[in-house]
């Protein structure tokens, strides 16, 4: 019987080695796999390259991993946020490397890695500093820049529900980078609110097929659903995508 379910967070991240390239899902806090990041922190792997849209918020999750000096390099589109003080400090001190990628090119490079596409010509960034030194080409009268696939050793993803084959569904805009990161990493580890019976997820509505998932761990229903009501005091971040 196939089962991708692991019982503990420690076990879920145990295969992550020093120097690994780790994709972490989420856009700001939405879809951030907080429990898996905490487990990675406890696990101790260091010298990591982390791929995430941002570079950590506040002092928890990815920010805590950065604060613990486990990350050598960030690949992201928007590190600077109102509460990205941990990254900001490391960056200004020259203690972390940054590869800045326009958000759509980041998403497409991740998608390409999962899809076996080596590189692609994108119009985004043409003529800007972020395309400097890159190959460009005119195709049918439009200018494009060549961007390469961005694969990873491990993806840490947060989803809503999984079955034991690893089929996943997400919740609202917390879906964001989850599906493409799950496909782009050699090993994909997923935290979910709930594991359901095989067959309980409508085959028409599966967002990430289990083929992309290696380990699933249930962490219990997210707080705002557990409380039966939505919350009124989630901090809204002024700055930026």
């Amino acid at each position: 019987m196939i089962s991708k379910i692991v019982s503990g967070l420690d076990e879920a991240v145990s295969g992550i080695s020093d120097g690994a390239v780790v994709m972490i899902g989420g856009f700001g806090r939405a879809g951030q796999p907080v429990e898996l990041i905490d487990a990675l922190l406890a696990h101790g792997a260091k010298d990591l390259t982390v791929i995430n849209n941002n570079a950590g918020n506040g002092d928890t999750g990815l920010a805590a991993l950065l604060a613990a000096r486990r990350v050598r390099k960030m690949i992201c589109s928007f590190p600077r946020q109102v509460d990205s003080q941990v990254f900001d400090g490391l960056y200004r001190a020259g203690e972390i490397e940054l590869e800045l990628v326009p958000q759509g090119n980041l998403a497409e490079r991740i998608r390409a890695a999962g899809a076996g596409i080596g590189a692609f010509f994108t119009p985004t960034g043409v003529g800007t500093a972020l395309a400097e030194g890159k190959e460009t080409r005119e195709i049918n009268g439009r200018q494009y820049v060549l961007e390469y696939a961005l694969p990873a050793d491990v993806a840490l993803v947060s989803a809503l529900r999984a079955d034991r084959w690893g089929n996943l569904v997400y919740r609202k805009t917390a879906r964001n980078f989850g599906p493409i990161m799950a496909a782009a990493a050699a090993t994909t580890v997923v935290q979910v609110d709930e594991i359901v019976e095989l067959g309980a997820i409508d085959p028409e509505s599966v967002v990430t097929p289990g083929i992309y998932v290696n380990h699933v761990v249930a962490v219990g229903e997210r707080a705002w659903l557990r409380e039966g009501e939505f919350v009124g005091a989630v901090s809204t971040e002024g700055a930026a995508s």
Binding site: T128, A129, T173, N176, F230, T236, S241
Partner: protein
């Protein structure tokens, strides 16, 4: 002394140009306000690049859902007819030219429609681009909504951008607090002047060869 309309008056003016059925992405900051001025009952579909079409306004207190946010990471709501998708699909939608309108802020726009809005190029700033470069090329029409002059007094409409570019020849129209400008093959043309502003004044203040393409008589301008 030139006339400046308020940010909300400008948002209302932009909103008047949005046709029913438009699929639209409103950039972070002032452009977000355009949604407040769309007439009740006019169906416009809002896209947010973090994976949603059919975004609704901010939720009532006590109904904030941390899984339902916009690109500015502010809580939003879901409208009937909405759809969720992942980040690659969302940016495919923009890059593929499927959105009708983007409304963006700007540091500078050049007279041929180059946009600079992601970086001031300051040496000590932490670089961050987000979806700015994707939005700049991500719609059939790219509107910029901005003050005509920066706080320093420098015009934001320029011959060549001095700030790092976000996109090349991508802007269609610029809505400023002084006037509305269209990017045309012959440069910038003024299609609408607010208050008592004149083309001559704007030419002088910006140093640009502005084409007069206004079609409104002074009395028409009272809407602003």
């Amino acid at each position: 002394m030139t006339t400046r309309i308020s940010r909300d008056a400008l948002a209302a003016r932009v909103a008047r140009d949005i046709p029913e059925g438009a699929v639209m992405n409103l950039g972070i900051g002032a452009p977000t306000r355009v949604a407040n001025f769309l007439p009740d009952g006019l169906e416009v579909i809002l896209h947010t690049e973090n994976g949603m079409l059919g975004m609704g306004p901010e939720p009532e207190p006590g109904r904030v859902d941390p899984d339902l946010i916009n690109a500015g990471k502010q809580p939003v709501t879901e409208q009937a007819g909405s759809a969720y998708f992942h980040h690659a699909d969302s940016f495919a939608m923009m890059r593929g030219g499927h959105l009708d309108v983007c409304v963006l802020g700007a540091f500078q726009v050049s007279e041929r429609g180059d946009l600079a809005n992601w970086s001031t190029g300051a040496a000590d700033s932490i670089p961050a681009v987000g979806g700015a470069m994707d939005l700049a090329i991500g719609a059939k029409q790219v509107f910029v909504m901005t003050d005509l002059f920066a706080r320093s007094g420098e015009p934001k409409l320029v011959r060549e951008c001095s700030y790092p570019l976000t996109g090349v020849r991508c802007v269609t129209r610029i809505y400023t607090d002084h006037a509305i400008f269209d990017v045309s093959p012959s440069g910038l043309s003024v299609t609408e002047l607010f208050g008592d502003n004149t083309i001559e004044e704007l030419r002088e203040l910006t140093g640009l060869d502005l084409v007069d393409a206004t079609t409104f008589s002074p009395s028409d301008r009272s809407h602003a």
